[in-house]
């Protein structure tokens, strides 16, 4: 894998195999970006991971893991207003969080280039929905660029900054998972110098959109988008290639599939590739439509370019068949593949596909259902112990609002402690709603990073409005799911500076929570269960929110720590003379390091997977799990 330090090399012309996220981190240097603010979110996470590794080695560069996406876009937006190039990065749902400032930012505009990078997640590999963020560019009236691979991710980022400065507008840079998480060759360019401190020049009647200011800024914004249209008509980011009676319009990663489909099907077609998709190049599209009788639009998720194309055809009174999602040739769900494009074109052109995919599908259907292997809480994950205790203390009968993070995996048996989830921070607030109307016990769980990102307003709401809810904060000292980024509770910044961490228990007390206790989930399972029970009883009696902070570092951190230390390992093993094969450890705790050996009829621990947390010891009714040498 590429190391972040390799991205710092000033060797223009050198070719590297990069993830688009790594190429974007490199692009930050080549564009002379002065400030980057983001909250980590897959599929964009590696952008921040690389930048935080590079940050201490760069002069005149500031990087932060912001508290959440709204904070990030405001920090970055203000830097661009002040006059330096800035970048905000988020995943699709993250732009929903940042939508309010994003729309105002377009009204006031920026003095130096600003890019809002949003990584959508078709197929929802690691997201709660697959919303198509491109509609934000329409709503906010900002230009939008869509790269199709790593190389474009870097080169288009540089162009995005030029367009942003030319139009004084933030530019939306929209990627998708299959761009972010694919590797392809990228040629390095030269690194651009970054300015030192700048002076903030006041201009309140531009940058403070009180109604009378906003009233004037809206027409200004629409005027800028007219200029953006001229950019869109002339930029090499929008281009056509090939010839043929068939026309194809495509954008983003789907461009690759369209190219591959044409080559594999040996079809002559003219292909219009749109890199700048807001505003779409109206003249270019209308001329393209006039050259063809059939035009196929290939893009993932919503019919964004397709709808624009239909609008233009109607506006210019062009008679042409525009085929896409509206007629059902392409799906609105999930990631595309070359196959999807080949099958759609075959249907449109009334041809057979060269590969008999239906026969392959039929053979796949003959395979009996295989044991599923979904993602799981890691061996040694402290969340498993906490959830086991929550379930035991409430006998599985409470309602368990969950939140965004690894711990949502507790939805799976045997923990089954995730009942409702909307978005970041919703565990606390959905708990409030449920507690008010049901009278059932409600135990919400939220991670430490998510707590700081979006949990605080929920705690305030619960305290002030006296919601009878129990909140367990799973404090594993990191933002685990997205790859171990620091957060305000860790004592480390994006610049890798050591600072005073915010203590979650203190924060809750400061917000007025009357019941706040801290537990260590690996200390004693019996005590842990008793703590949850006591908390639930307190909330039932006092009709107020209570907080339990379950504090234990993420298993991945623990494992890394151990591999660095020279201390002898304290292994756990099953005493097979004591184990009676009841499987309670497997059916109630289900740590992936444990398995059932059908030959001996005993449960065993896989030493290569075990993280030595020891929490399984208390789960075994026989006391057969032992520590130390056999």
């Amino acid at each position: 894998m590429v190391r972040a330090m390799d991205l710092l090399q000033n060797e223009p012309g050198k070719k590297m195999l990069l993830l688009a996220n790594e190429a974007i981190a490199r692009g930050v240097l080549e564009a002379g970006v002065r400030l980057v603010a983001l909250y980590p979110g897959t599929p964009s996470s590696e952008i921040g991971n690389n930048l935080t590794a590079m940050a201490p080695h760069l002069s005149n560069f500031y990087f932060e893991f912001s508290t959440n996406e709204k904070v990030a876009i405001e920090v970055a937006g203000a830097a661009a207003v002040a006059g330096v190039r800035s970048l905000m990065v988020c995943k699709g749902p993250g732009l929903n969080v940042a939508a309010d400032p994003f729309l105002s930012l377009a009204y006031v505009g920026v003095r130096a280039g600003m890019v809002v990078l949003v990584a959508d997640d078709p197929s929802m590999w690691s997201s709660q929905n697959e919303n198509d963020s491109r509609f934000y560019a329409l709503m906010a009236n900002t230009p939008m660029l869509e790269p199709s691979d790593s190389s474009e991710a870097k080169s288009m980022l540089l162009q995005a900054y030029d367009i942003s400065e030319q139009l004084e507008l933030p530019v939306m840079f929209r990627t998708t998972t299959r761009v972010n998480h694919s590797r392809s060759p990228v040629e390095l360019g030269s690194i651009r110098e970054r300015p030192d401190k700048v002076q903030f020049v006041k201009d309140p009647f531009r940058f403070v959109p009180i109604p009378s200011v906003a009233y004037k800024r809206h027409p200004w914004l629409l005027g800028q988008m007219e200029k953006a249209l001229k950019v869109s008509e002339s930029t090499p980011l929008n281009f056509s290639s090939g010839t043929g009676s068939l026309g194809i319009i495509t954008s983003g990663v789907a461009y690759n599939y369209a190219v591959e489909a044409l080559s594999r099907m040996n079809i002559e077609a003219e292909l219009l590739k749109l890199g700048l998709t807001n505003p779409v190049p109206e003249h270019m599209i209308s001329e393209f439509l006039k050259r063809h009788t059939t035009v196929v639009v290939v893009e993932e998720l919503e019919p964004f370019v397709e709808t624009q194309t239909r609008r233009i055809a109607q506006l210019k009174r062009i008679t042409v068949d525009i085929l896409g999602k509206d007629q059902g040739y392409f799906p609105r769900t999930y990631e595309y593949t070359p196959r999807i494009v080949i099958e759609a074109l075959s249907k449109i052109l009334n041809r057979k596909t060269s590969i008999d995919w239906e026969a392959i599908d039929a053979k796949v259907r003959e395979i009996p259902p295989l044991p599923p292997r979904p993602p799981l809480l890691c061996p040694g994950c402290p969340h498993r112990a906490t959830y086991y205790a929550i379930r035991a203390a409430t006998r599985g009968k409470a309602i368990y609002p969950s939140d965004i993070g690894c711990y949502t995996l507790s939805i799976a048996p045997p923990l089954e402690t995730a009942d409702i989830l909307f978005d970041m921070g919703s565990s606390i607030t959905t708990a409030c709603g449920i507690a008010q109307v049901t009278g059932q016990d409600v135990v919400a769980t939220i991670g430490d990073s998510t707590f700081f990102a979006s949990g605080l307003p929920g705690i305030v709401d619960a305290v002030y409005n006296k919601h009878p809810i129990c909140v367990v904060i799973l404090d594993n000292r990191t933002t685990a799911m997205t790859g171990q980024q620091p957060h305000p509770g860790t004592g480390l910044t994006g610049m890798q500076e050591k600072v005073t961490p915010l203590d979650i228990a203190d924060v809750c007390r400061g917000l007025g929570v009357q019941y706040v206790r801290i537990v260590r989930p690996f200390d004693s399972m019996v005590d842990l269960v008793a703590e949850v029970r006591q908390m639930v009883a307190w909330t039932r009696e006092r009709k107020q929110p209570s907080v339990l902070v379950s504090r234990e570092p993420c298993a991945i951190l623990t494992a890394a720590e151990r591999s660095r230390s020279e201390e002898p390992l304290q292994r756990y093993y099953v005493d097979t003379t004591e184990c009676n094969g009841c499987r309670r450890c497997l059916t109630r705790y289900s740590c992936p390091a444990m398995y059932f050996d059908p030959e001996s009829g005993r449960a065993l621990i896989d030493e290569t997977l075990c993280n030595m947390c020891g929490s399984c010891v208390a789960v075994c009714p026989q006391g057969a799990i032992r520590k130390g040498e056999r």
């Binding site: 599939y257 061996p379 398995y595």
Partner: protein
């Protein structure tokens, strides 16, 4: 002996399939970098985030001038590198008819099996189902080999060696070894190079060209 036909396709497609933590992503990256070093155009498709938490992981590697996107369609992969039996079967639809499957026969029990919810299919059944897609299956206990080489963590390098021995990729043996040298610092280099070499010779003994 498994006969390998000369690979005339303009694009070499590979699917690597296994369990999070087995080194699937690392191997995909190393193969692509080695191919790039030898002057080839490459694409790698990965899955991050949720998929890394002990779940099923799939990577694609494509080599050749016509490799545009990272996606490999069903029926188009000349080589499947299976890190685990049922995870190989789960992705078997990607193999081109009579393409090569290199399979680590060592089973990693899914939690659903440990919990007694579902049985792990018999190995003969897994193989029979794979053979419905291709008769060319090279299977051996690669974890055993990795342990012999010096560490279970070098499982992916055993499979790397076997893949290079198949000559389905245009990556030369020396470039592959060079990429191991570059990727692993200090003590891991030796173990990984040894794992690669054993994997390579096991495959060489079982394949004909």
């Amino acid at each position: 002996m498994i006969r390998i036909d000369c690979n005339a396709a303009p694009t070499v497609n590979m699917v690597l399939t296994g369990v999070g933590g087995q080194g699937v992503l690392t191997l995909a990256d190393m193969m692509a970098r080695a191919a790039m070093f030898d002057g080839h155009n490459v694409r790698v498709g990965e899955i991050h985030g949720m998929a890394q938490r002990g779940g099923h992981v799939t990577c694609t590697v494509r080599i050749g001038p016509c490799a545009t996107g990272p996606i490999v369609d069903p029926g188009t992969a000349q080589l499947i590198l299976g890190f685990e039996p049922i995870e190989t079967l789960r992705e078997i639809q990607f193999v081109v008819p009579e393409g090569l499957v290199i399979l680590n026969s060592h089973i990693q029990m899914p939690v659903a099996v440990s919990m007694g919810q579902i049985d792990y299919p018999k190995h003969e059944l897994v193989l029979a189902l794979i053979r419905k897609f291709t008769s060319k299956v090279l299977e051996f206990d690669a974890l055993d080999v990795a342990k012999t080489a010096g560490g279970a963590g070098s499982l992916n390098m055993v499979l790397f060696g076997a893949a290079i021995a198949s000559e389905i990729t245009p990556i030369s043996r020396s470039t592959a070894l060079r990429s191991i040298h570059e990727s692993f610092p200090g003590k891991f280099e030796e173990v990984n190079a040894r794992a690669f070499t054993i994997g390579y010779s096991i495959a060489k003994d079982k394949l004909s060209y």
